[in-house]
Amino acid sequence: MKLMNTHLHAISVIAEKTIKMDIVIEKKLLETIRPGQFVYIQIGSSSEHMLRRPISIADVDIEKELLTLVYKELGEGTRKLSQLKKGDPLNLLIPCGNGYRIDQLQLSHALLIGGGIGVPPLYYLAKKLVEKGIKVTTIIGFQSKEDVFFEEEFKGLGDCFVTTNDGSYGQQGYVTDSIEKEQPEFDNYFACGPNPMLKAIELKLTDKKGFLSLEERMGCGIGACYACVVPTKDEKGSKKICQDGPVFSAGEVKI
């Protein structure tokens, strides 16, 4: 993990309050990044925002030396990030967390399940899986039509099904409804999204090996402050989401 100063290369709105940022990062560092890892980004340079914001890595372009982040404007900190312009300075801790360790897995078909702002890290994961010759099916769920993003990108990598809670786009319902309907074939699943979604998936796909990426409010971002913990399944201990996670095997922690 490195503490570094860099700058913004491009910024755009890709869905409702959903921002895509390209950040300049040197090739050598980009090559070390695993899908599912995140950056811990400083808001401004004053003392107003004392806590950085964890944002998952959506894509890596080693040739262009660019890192892509996608986040949702949910409060003052992320709103401030969105006001940045090309060339503005950024301070990052990068890369944070463990990520999806796909090199250690034997599989031929992966099911990727994303909910809302849990979708971005699955994109770089899908690219890396396809690179390894693994077939990818993606199910992504959003609140409503205007929240949908990355559908085309995922379709370029395999089958992609979209759900919306209000039915304004794709199938109406939750990602679990789509799993029910499509009955996709897969060896392992990889999920990222809100805790109720992860819990429902874990309960539904009990016969398959899966990996869940969790989110929590963080303090230090490096494992020192114990703010972002999650109890282990036996509730006898806990794991740190920023350091031991954000990716856990299904059944490892109590969501």
């Binding site: 107003e48 004392m50 950085r52 409010r217 303090g219 490096i222 020192a224 114990y226 703010a227």
Partner: protein, 302 residues
């Protein structure tokens, strides 16, 4: 210019150290710089048995500060002695062990357990944690209770005892005088102020513990005022803390009466902050006309 300062049990190369709870046991920050550069380290609070802490969310950002309610999560004092202190023993670094408890007996037992290690140089007696249901802050707000727990921990401890004072006391000077008369070797101040923030969407307090401890630059003026008042009323040294971000902040704490300072929340925004402050402090001291640390201590009182 030498930044060295000697305090009971502590020969500090410089007056900068990370505050307890913000730095764990140093491992994570050792990837950013050599921990031997620090004046000392205040390690995460130890209780007698392992504690799992509160539910999440445990932190929330507020303007120029943050609220935390970790709830003293730690593996218990014996595991800390076994697994954490040997790592710190590899550095040229005085270690200050923060101890907490729900009862006076628990405080005594933690202090007693720490007698079996020679890898700590002082104890920070945490009678001011606002985030646990029992113990913590209740020991730090009433002078008679603070006196009693200090006296009993002093009887058990084999190293100097610094008592961490709570800004939530009605009269912090009275608490400071009480623990001094109970034999405290020094004071550390201030712990966090109790606070709350409410989630507008969920219509309930954001932290799962509801109440948290406010830290960061937002509380610095409170810390300065309290150190200024306590410095006049006691004859034991003070390690100051509360929102330090810059070398000017450090100097302000020294002027108010602190002999050294601890940096907490700022480590989260900038993991390099302690090292940067140590490197830049001589320039700031010179800029304001000081030849040594000692000259600056309490200089706002003269």
């Amino acid at each position: 210019m030498t930044l060295a300062i000697n305090l009971p049990g502590l020969q500090l190369k410089n007056p900068i150290m990370p505050a307890s709870g913000c730095f764990s046991f140093g491992r994570e920050y050792s990837h950013f710089y050599d921990l031997s550069e620090l004046g000392a380290i205040m390690i995460k609070a130890a209780t007698e048995e392992k504690r799992l802490g509160n539910s999440t969310p445990r932190v929330a950002e507020t303007k120029s500060g943050m609220l935390n309610a970790i709830g003293l999560q730690n593996p218990g004092v014996l595991k800390i002695i076994e697994n954490e202190l040997p790592f710190l023993g590899g550095y040229d670094l005085p270690v200050i062990a923060n101890i907490a408890g729900s009862t006076v007996e628990e405080y005594e037992n933690v202090a007693k357990a720490l007698r079996q290690t020679d890898l700590i140089h002082a104890i920070e007696l945490n009678i001011s944690c606002p985030n646990v249901k029992e113990g913590g802050v209740q020991f730090g707000t009433v002078p008679e209770v603070a006196y009693e727990v200090t006296r009993r921990v002093k009887e058990q401890a084999s190293v100097p005892v610094y008592v961490k004072l709570s800004p939530n006391a009605a009269d912090i000077v009275a608490v400071a005088q009480a623990v001094e008369s109970a034999g405290a070797d020094g004071l550390t101040m201030i712990n966090t102020l109790t606070g709350m923030t409410i989630d507008l969407h969920k219509r309930r307090p954001l932290l799962s513990n509801k109440v948290g401890g406010l830290s960061g630059p937002a509380i610095k003026p409170v810390a300065i005022r309290m150190i200024y008042d306590v410095y006049k009323a006691v004859n034991i040294p003070i390690i100051g803390m509360g929102g330090i971000m810059t070398t000017e902040d450090v100097l302000e704490f020294l002027m108010a009466g602190a002999s050294a300072v601890a940096v907490g929340t700022a480590n989260f925004q900038n993991p390099m902050i302690c090292k940067e402050l140590i490197d830049d402090l001589p320039t700031t001291l010179k800029q304001y006309g000081f030849e040594s640390i000692e000259e600056a201590i309490g200089s706002a009182h003269r």
